[in-house]
């Protein structure tokens, strides 16, 4: 969800900011870190207008009740944060606790020996409080390196109920042929069937992630992620890409999707203003629409459903893709390891924190909170998201987070070429295969 809130322009300032911040950190954190026993825990997290106040409240509650141990939380913007974290980990300026995206991302940090194995620090009852499929994102080779610290973020198909009614569609598409049929109906009404922010390739990636899962099952991507030779050549990849090209050729995304931005809210506005019928987006879409087009959400015009099934596909229709969650991890060299673990265990499952998350429209990765969701605000939506995650046999992490950074960049570039008809599915496969 943080990705959605991030303005791309901040990347322009990334290098400068990261350097400047590191330089200042040198000066200020020196004496504090050498204190050792005082238990001053530095926590790094992401900037998020809705979430940060909740986190600040939790930190001050923790500080008030934790005796000598004090936590200080710092927030960073998404893309610069990745860069800052990558260079700070393992340096003397590393934080004690840091937010990460789990999966492939976390694996990189673990492999470089910068993350503490929390297996012995956390007791089983604490670990069991989380949804297993989400907890898996912080577990590598059976060892626990990350603890889920906010809401789950599966990808779902959102739609505008008014547009559907206008086009004579009574139910959201459940199968691929349904979807194609609905696209044609909306096109006949001169409405863009699907809003897509194609200037940012990760929005296009969601289509490939879901289609590959539905067509070939989650195993295909497991092979890709493991770097198995020829994994990209799996026929399911070509099939999924061909289906995408079919959507493009059909005009499912209109003609100018390549100029639409997600950070600038272009695709979301198309949906809420009724100029597009559907949008495939992460679960943060709801909170985003609630903030930018409150009437649209409050009047019940925003609909949501699971990704359509594909006839003869190998993947389970209940499989989901997206970001399981963001995680808190402890750095391997942290001098305040005990205090850091104490901070994590006493905050992320705290009932007041969980309640505050639900209030801002997030669905915490805590097992058995369905009743709490039902009685909370936005209950229809939050229970849908919770059910999606709870019942999913497989939760594939967003590929751009799961793959090594270089491969992920290449993937986004090549995929954008397919969406813009600059490359064929076959060219995509051979380009990725050469990587």
């Amino acid at each position: 969800m943080n990705r959605a809130l991030t303005l791309r322009f901040t990347t322009a300032l990334a290098t400068a900011t990261a350097l400047a911040a590191t330089a200042t950190a040198c000066g200020s954190s020196g004496p504090g870190a050498s204190g050792g026993g005082s238990g001053k825990v530095t926590v790094w997290a992401l900037q998020d207008t809705a979430l940060n106040p909740v986190q600040r409240k939790t930190v001050s509650t923790f500080n008030a009740s934790s005796g000598d141990t004090k936590a200080a939380i710092q927030f960073f913007v998404n893309d610069p944060y990745k860069q800052k974290l990558q260079t700070a980990l393992g340096s003397p300026n590393a934080p004690d606790v840091f937010l990460n995206w789990g999966g492939g991302n976390l694996t990189t940090y673990v492999k470089s020996g910068n993350v503490a194995d929390l297996g012995t620090d956390l007791d089983a009852s604490f670990k069991n409080e989380f949804l297993p499929s989400v907890m898996a994102g912080g577990t590598i080779d059976g060892k626990t390196y990350g603890v889920p610290m906010e809401g789950v973020q599966p990808v779902a198909l959102f739609y505008n109920k008014d547009v559907f009614a206008k086009a004579g569609i009574t139910q959201p598409p459940a199968t691929w042929p349904d979807l194609l049929h609905d696209i044609d109906r909306m096109k006949a009404r001169h409405i863009t069937p699907i809003a897509l922010a194609g200037s940012q390739a990760w929005t296009e990636l969601m289509w490939l992630e879901y289609l590959l899962d539905r067509v070939g099952g989650p195993q295909v991507f497991v092979g890709i992620q493991a770097g198995k030779p020829g994994a990209w050549q799996d026929p399911a990849v070509t099939t999924a890409l061909t289906m995408i090209r079919d959507l493009v050729d059909r005009g499912a995304f209109g003609t100018n999707y390549g100029s639409v931005g997600q950070d600038s809210g272009g695709a979301d506005a198309l949906l809420s203003k009724g100029r597009a019928g559907m949008e495939l987006m992460g679960s943060w879409e709801y909170a985003g629409q609630l903030a930018t087009a409150p009437d649209f959400v409050k009047k019940g015009k925003l609909g949501w459903t699971t990704f359509p099934t594909v006839p003869n596909g190998k993947g389970d229709a209940k499989n989901i893709v997206g970001n399981p969650c963001n995680f808190f991890s402890v750095t391997a060299k942290s001098k305040n390891r005990a205090a850091a673990v104490d901070f994590i265990t006493k905050t992320v499952t705290e009932p007041s924190y969980v309640k505050n998350l639900i209030d801002i429209g997030q669905v915490p990765a805590i097992a058995g909170i369905e009743d709490q969701l039902k009685s909370g605000p936005n209950a229809d939506y939050t229970t849908f998201v919770y059910g999606l995650v709870e019942h999913a046999p497989n939760f594939t992490q967003s590929w751009d987070q799961a793959l090594a950074p270089a491969t992920a960049q290449k993937l986004l570039t090549e995929l954008q070429k397919v969406f813009n008809k600059q490359a064929s599915p076959q060219q995509f496969v051979s380009a990725m295969d050469a990587e």
Binding site: F9, A12, Q200
Partner: protein, 298 residues
């Protein structure tokens, strides 16, 4: 003795340059040397760099995106130079005159200069939104019915060029304006007596007098365009596909998105060499190095 004499004259000795040289060494020479070292290392930003020998450099030969990014960088550089010079020179000369409403119009021209690159890029990102921005309205007028300027692989680079031009025209116009005002009025008076018309005066008096300014402005434009980066990053991020992935952006994305610092170092060295060569070349070809005055006796 000689030095003492010069110092007593209050003219600068070598010692005067020490602070500037130190500063330059610390913030330019040292990082450049480090980049060269880095280009021989493998480093993803985590932990310490590992020596990789010439592996990164041999990769340069097999980089599928390198040719494209070099070509785009050169294209952007040449087009920017041609378009901006053609606009800025006449505009600057005009602004140096005494026409009515000149002051008001000049002020308007300079507005883009007041904005930071990030602000310019964000402004145009909003304007170029094909559904809710200005692109929707003026697209059809320019033959782009759906307003798909930055999303069309064939149009993206030209759109970026237009934005960059919009941003930098005021700066170079300002240079030309200042230079045109320095042209002694006597020259024009003499030309008028000789019966030269406005156009003749421009060609035979103004243009030769602006020669050094043309060189200065060109060096700034050429080297600037070669290392141009921020607006492209924000507007297109190199996309669609690799349609606007110019060399500096290729370097940035390799270093800070793919976390391949070693190879990014190679690209940085490449840029450094290209930039230095280019500016030396311009200076040499134009005879700027000789520093001769065109205004002897005045």
């Amino acid at each position: 003795m000689n030095t003492a004499l010069r110092r007593s004259d209050g003219r600068p000795g070598a010692l005067w340059a020490v602070p500037a040289l130190l500063y330059f060494a610390l913030f330019a020479v040292v990082p450049m040397a480090l980049v060269v070292v880095l280009s021989f290392c493998r480093w993803n930003g985590l932990g310490s760099p590992h020596w990789a020998g010439t592996a990164n450099w041999t990769r340069l030969l097999h980089d599928p995106d390198l040719g494209q990014s070099l070509r785009l960088s050169l294209l952007l550089t040449v087009v920017n130079w041609a378009v901006q010079t053609l606009i800025c020179l006449p505009l600057g000369v005009w602004c140096a005159g005494h026409q009515r409403a000149r002051a008001v119009l000049s002020t308007l021209f300079f507005v883009p200069l007041l904005m930071s690159s990030a602000a310019v890029a964000l402004l145009f990102a909003a304007l170029l939104d094909p559904n809710f921005g200005l692109a929707h309205a003026i697209g059809p007028w320019l033959g782009v019915d759906d307003g798909n300027f930055i999303g069309d692989p064939h149009l993206a680079l030209w759109t970026v060029t237009a934005v960059v031009t919009w941003q930098f025209v005021p700066f170079h116009t300002l240079l030309y304006q200042a230079a045109a005002r320095q042209v002694p009025a006597q020259l024009y008076e003499a030309a008028t007596i000789d019966g030269a018309g406005r156009w003749r005066q421009f060609l035979s008096v103004t243009l030769p007098q602006l020669r050094h300014t043309v060189v200065t402005s060109s060096v700034l434009m050429l080297v600037g365009s070669l290392t141009y980066f921020d607006i492209v990053l924000i507007l297109t991020n190199g996309g669609p596909g690799t349609s606007t992935r110019i060399l500096p952006l290729h370097m940035y994305l390799t270093g800070f998105s793919s976390f391949d610092m070693g190879y990014a170092g190679v690209l940085a060295v490449l840029l450094l060499v290209a930039g230095t060569t280019l500016s030396l070349l311009v200076v040499r070809v134009t005879g700027f190095r000789r520093m001769t005055s065109r205004r002897e006796g005045l």
